[in-house]
Every structure is written in structure tokens, then in C-alpha cells.
């Protein structure tokens, strides 16, 4: 028998073990998607993967880094643009789609030195200005032909079915990698720093957390992730019109997904992406009213349910599916299990 006075710290519990197992099993099933989903559904699920990437990246930046950016479309557009440029320079098209986000990641490093010194609303709109500038500069490139745009011609070498399956697998792999990276990051020593910064930046700095270095890692990760989403979108749409890719709409989607799912929770943005995907599938055709609804949801969630659907559920029931935090387990009779994330 164990000593009843001992409080143990645990990371795994039966719920999180089951949930993690279920997620892994789901990923294995999804890996065979193109064989059973059919053409149309394969494309749609690829889009869902892109949404999960966008939501997870925006949440990493805002929910954990405490930096609300209205300019993530900068990286989304640059990711697609870099892929076009690489492919034009003779790089094999799928290699170009993979290398492009990494190039954008390198570009985001010097940018972070500037952007991360901005706070709150200044960072938010400052990033928006940077996105506008990136859009205007890409328009100056003769290859793009201004707003007329161009296409990722090289990808037409693959027949539609092969292309569809490749895009699906690439999106699934990139999503798993990026969301997995956030998971590993949150469980690492840096995860504790990240969450300390989220809760109180000054206090975190005072106990020796390297605030700027930690934020930079998240900023670059979010840049790479949004760029990957951009290059994956290019792979499915093929055409590149700067106005579409550098549209602030993408950031509006990210904000909607994260706020509805749960800002600052690991599972929330993924749930938000699934909700957004469902809402878009059902109401997307209704055009303007659908967009009014998205904006109104963001407004109402930020005011009345700031922790989103998932955050509210975890706060109320103390459940946590993915083990990104630690829990204190009190001995029987000493009270309830308490989650600490």
C-alpha cells in the first residue's frame, strides 16, 4: 500500500492514454484515406488538414506566445510564392512545395527581431502592414504578372488522381509533423517557459525565462506552418493569384477556429478547425451571411467565452485528452484530482 500522504505528479492517466491511442489509430486510418475516400472527399479532407495547420499555428503564436497577429497571411502567401519561384527555377515540384516553407522560416528570423519587440495591437497591425508589403513586393515580380497571377504548371505533369493522393499525404504528413512539434514543444522545458509567458510575461522574465528567445521559436514555427499551409493550398488550387493568398481572410479564419475551439489549449484549435470545416461545408455557399456569422462568432466568443468550447469544457470537467501538462494526484480522500497545465 502506498503512503496516503504522498501527492504524486502524473503526466499520463487512463483518459489521456486512451485519447492518445485513439489519435494514433485515427492517423493510421487517415493515412489510407485516398484509397477509400473518393476524389471529392480526398480533396476536402486535404483542405481540413490545411485548416488544422493554420489553427494550430495561430494558436501557438497567440494562445501560447501571447502575440495576436493579423498578418499571418504574409507567410501563407510567401509560402505559395516561394514554391512557384523554386519550381520555376527547376526544382522538382513536390520538393519545391516542401522547401518553400523552410525558406520562409529563414526569412522570418530577421523579421522576428523586429516584430517581437512590438506589443499587443502594435504587433497585430504591424504584422498586417508587413503582409500588405509582402503582397505588394510579390506583385512587382515579373513572373507573377501582378494581380493576374500565374500557376504551378509543373504539377500538371502528374495525373489528377496521383496529384490528389500526393497532396493528401503531404498535407497529412505536414499536419502531423507540425502539430506533433507543438506537442513536443509544450512537453519540453520550453513548454513550461511558453506557458509562463502566456500567463504573465513580466513574471516569467523575472524568474529567468528567456522570453524573447522562446517567443522567437514560436514565431518562426508559426511562420513555417502558415507557409506550409500556403504551399499546400497552392498544390490543390494550382493557380496563384496574390490577392487570394495574401488576403486577411486567412487570418480571420485562423482567429475564428482558434477562438471557437479554445485559445491557449492544445486540442481546441483542432476542434475549431473541424467546426470551421463543417460550417464552411454547410453554409459556405451562402456567401456574405456566412462571413458575417464568422465575424460575429469571433466577436462573441472573445467577449463571452474567451476559453472557447474546449477550454470551457476542460475548465469545468478537468479533462485533458492530450498529455501536454502535468496533474497533481492527491491521495484518496484528500480531494479531487487537479489539472495543472
Amino acid at each position: 500500500m502506498s503512503d496516503p500522504s504522498v501527492i504524486t505528479v502524473q503526466r499520463w492517466n487512463p483518459v489521456s492514454l486512451t485519447a492518445t491511442g485513439a489519435v494514433l489509430a485515427l492517423l493510421v486510418v487517415l493515412a489510407f484515406g485516398p484509397y477509400f475516400l473518393g476524389a471529392n472527399l480526398t480533396d476536402r479532407v486535404t483542405t481540413l488538414f490545411v485548416y488544422v495547420i493554420l489553427a494550430a499555428m495561430w494558436n501557438a503564436l497567440a494562445g501560447y506566445g501571447g502575440q495576436v497577429s493579423i498578418g499571418q497571411q504574409a507567410f501563407f502567401g510567401l509560402g505559395a510564392y516561394a514554391a512557384i519561384r523554386l519550381s520555376h527555377a527547376g526544382v522538382e515540384v513536390y520538393a519545391a512545395l516542401v522547401i518553400a516553407p523552410l525558406l520562409v522560416g529563414i526569412l522570418s528570423l530577421p523579421l522576428s527581431a523586429f516584430a517581437l519587440r512590438l506589443r499587443g495591437g502594435e504587433f497585430a497591425i504591424g504584422m498586417w502592414v508587413i503582409a500588405e508589403l509582402a503582397h505588394l513586393l510579390v506583385n512587382l515580380d515579373g513572373l507573377i504578372q501582378g494581380e493576374t497571377g500565374t500557376s504551378l504548371i509543373a504539377i500538371s505533369a502528374f495525373d489528377p488522381d496521383t496529384r490528389r493522393a500526393f497532396n493528401y499525404w503531404l498535407a497529412l504528413a505536414v499536419m502531423t509533423l507540425l502539430v506533433g512539434l507543438v506537442f513536443v514543444l509544450l512537453r519540453s522545458r520550453m513548454g513550461a517557459s511558453i506557458q509562463a509567458i502566456r500567463d504573465n510575461e513580466e513574471a516569467a522574465a523575472s524568474v529567468g525565462v528567456r522570453v524573447l528567445a522562446t517567443k522567437r521559436v514560436i514565431f518562426v514555427l508559426a511562420a513555417i506552418g502558415c507557409a506550409a499551409a500556403g504551399s499546400l493550398t497552392l498544390a490543390t488550387l494550382i493557380s496563384f493569384q496574390p490577392r487570394t493568398y495574401f488576403s486577411v481572410q486567412w487570418t480571420a479564419y485562423m482567429i475564428f477556429m482558434t477562438l471557437v475551439g479554445g485559445l491557449g489549449t492544445f486540442e481546441g484549435p483542432i476542434i475549431g478547425a473541424v467546426i470551421f470545416f463543417a460550417v464552411e461545408t454547410i453554409f459556405g455557399a451562402s456567401g456574405v451571411w456566412y462571413l458575417v456569422g464568422l465575424g460575429a462568432s469571433a466577436l462573441l466568443f472573445s467577449l463571452f467565452l474567451p476559453r472557447g468550447i474546449w477550454g470551457t469544457l476542460t475548465d469545468r470537467f478537468g479533462i485533458q485528452l492530450m498529455p501536454v501538462g502535468y496533474r497533481l494526484r492527491f491521495p484518496a480522500g484528500a480531494g479531487q484530482e487537479k489539472a495543472s497545465s
Partner: protein, 287 residues
């Protein structure tokens, strides 16, 4: 090409930017809120002036006078429904809630008025394009000059209001420290509501001038927000006269940019904004 003319036109354009930035700067100074729906609200006001002008066949200036109290009431409502709750829930919430509001306003405008751009220019006749030649081919437009006069009057008037009236003093005290202001009997809630009402009145004036000097369409709000924000930051956040300088610097940079490259108008403005911001950060980190 005439540099003197380009710079003068830049200054006059800058006066419009100061006008649109006025409300953003004022609200930031008082409540530390950056209202991301600012540009969309300006466009909304422009559409209200347009509708009143067309429906009743009145002068746009009379229509603006009718719209001003409506916008003041909207400001009061905005503070009570959105800002108040946002301010209580931490620094990120106002950014998210006002961005959501901007998306709502833009798309409702699109739903009501469609994608076509509209202008008040036909309603003000010759005034829209009449100009005086002052020297060596340098022109000064009558509407542009009025914009400059209104911008200076508005910024100066706000400054005087803040220093010389009881409400102005309450606003400054609340901006300094809301809790302490409440200790000496100031109702911070009322002060914030009044400040937001004033800000939206200035936004309505800016929106009307936007529709007179150019065209508006439902999605022009975001670019107006960016111009306003750039003017505020270049001039130094929270300072009203700084906002005038910031607007002028932005306007001149855009006009010079357009002389260098056909697409250089916006690029020039953005680059000057980023350069000023970078220089300021450098100075802050040295100090």
C-alpha cells in the same frame, strides 16, 4: 514631374490621414485600445452620409451633420457592448473582438450596398475638383484645403477640449489612472463612453471626407485602418499633434513613392512606417 507639387499634394493627402487617424489616436490615448474596426466604422459612416444625401437630396455637409449624432450614439453603444467587456478580459481581447466586429461591418455593408464603389464627389459639384494655382504650376485643391483646415481644427479642438473643459480633464485623469480617477468621484464608465462617442464623431467626419475625395466600397475599411494606424505610429502613439505630423509624413512618402514606381505609392508609405517603427525600437532598446 514637379517635386514641389508632389510634396504639397502629399501634405494635403496627409491631412486626410490625420483626420482618419484622429479617432484612433484619441481612443488609444484614453483607453489604450487599438480599435481594429476603426476603418470599417469610417466606411460605415461614409455610407450613412451617402444614403442620407441620396434619399433626401440634401448637401453631403448637411447629411454629415445628421449622421454625427447617430455615430456618437453608436460610439456610446460600442463602449458599453464591446470595449467595456474587452478591457476587463485582458490585453488580447480588444484586438480579437474589434477584428471580429470589423469583419461583421464589412460584410453587412457588402450585403446592403453591393460591391460597387460609390462617391460623394458628384454631390458637391465643382468643389470636388476646383483648385487654385499658387506658383509655378503648383495647384491646391479646394476640397484638399478644406480637409487640411478641418483636420487642424479637429485636432486643435480636441486638444483644447482635453485641457480646458471638465469632461476633458476627467478624460485625461481616467487615461492616466482609471482607478485613482474613480477615487476622486469620476465615473470611468461614463468617461469611456463619452470618449468613444467623441472618437466616432471624428471617424464620421473622416468617412465623409473619404467619400468626397475618393470612392468607398464595403471592403475599403481595412486599408483606411492601416493608413490611420501608420499615421498614429509615425507621429507617436497617443499624441494628437503628432498624429497630424504622422499623417503628413505618410502622405508625402506615398507621393514620393509613386514618383519612383507606378506601384510605389503604398510601398513608400509602408516602408516609411516600418522605418520609423524600427528606429523607435532601436532608440528604446538603447536607452
Amino acid at each position: 514631374m514637379n517635386w514641389a507639387d508632389q510634396i504639397l499634394q502629399g501634405v494635403l493627402l496627409g491631412a486626410y490621414y490625420a483626420l482618419i487617424a484622429c479617432g484612433l489616436s484619441f481612443l488609444f490615448g484614453v483607453m489604450r485600445i487599438i480599435n481594429l474596426a476603426h476603418g470599417s466604422i469610417a466606411v460605415l459612416a461614409a455610407y450613412l452620409v451617402l444614403s442620407a444625401t441620396e434619399r433626401w437630396g440634401i448637401s453631403p455637409f448637411v447629411a454629415l451633420l445628421l449622421v454625427l449624432p447617430v455615430m456618437a450614439a453608436a460610439g456610446w453603444l460600442l463602449q458599453r457592448t464591446v470595449f467595456e467587456r474587452s478591457l476587463r478580459s485582458g490585453p488580447l481581447t480588444p484586438i480579437l473582438s474589434t477584428f471580429g466586429l470589423a469583419v461583421v461591418i464589412d460584410n453587412l455593408l457588402f450585403q446592403k450596398f453591393g460591391a460597387d464603389s460609390q462617391s460623394l464627389a458628384p454631390n458637391i459639384g465643382d468643389f470636388a475638383f476646383n483648385s487654385w494655382t499658387i506658383f509655378g504650376g503648383v495647384r491646391i485643391g479646394q476640397l484638399s484645403l478644406l480637409t487640411l483646415v478641418v483636420a487642424v481644427a479637429l485636432l486643435g479642438g480636441l486638444q483644447l477640449f482635453l485641457t480646458h473643459t471638465p469632461l476633458g480633464r476627467s478624460i485625461r485623469a481616467t487615461a492616466e489612472d482609471a482607478d485613482t480617477a474613480e477615487l476622486v468621484g469620476i465615473d470611468a464608465r461614463k468617461v469611456y463612453a463619452a470618449a468613444t462617442a467623441i472618437a466616432l464623431v471624428t471617424v464620421a467626419i473622416a468617412g465623409a471626407f473619404l467619400a468626397m475625395r475618393a470612392t468607398v466600397s464595403p471592403y475599403t475599411g481595412s486599408s483606411q485602418l492601416l493608413f490611420a494606424f501608420e499615421a498614429v505610429v509615425i507621429g507617436g502613439a497617443g499624441s494628437l499633434w503628432g498624429t497630424l505630423i504622422g499623417g503628413i509624413v505618410l502622405g508625402v512618402a506615398q507621393n514620393i513613392g509613386s514618383q519612383i514606381n507606378p506601384q510605389g505609392f503604398l510601398i513608400g508609405g509602408h516602408l516609411v512606417f516600418l522605418a520609423v517603427l524600427g528606429a523607435r525600437l532601436l532608440i528604446v532598446s538603447r536607452a
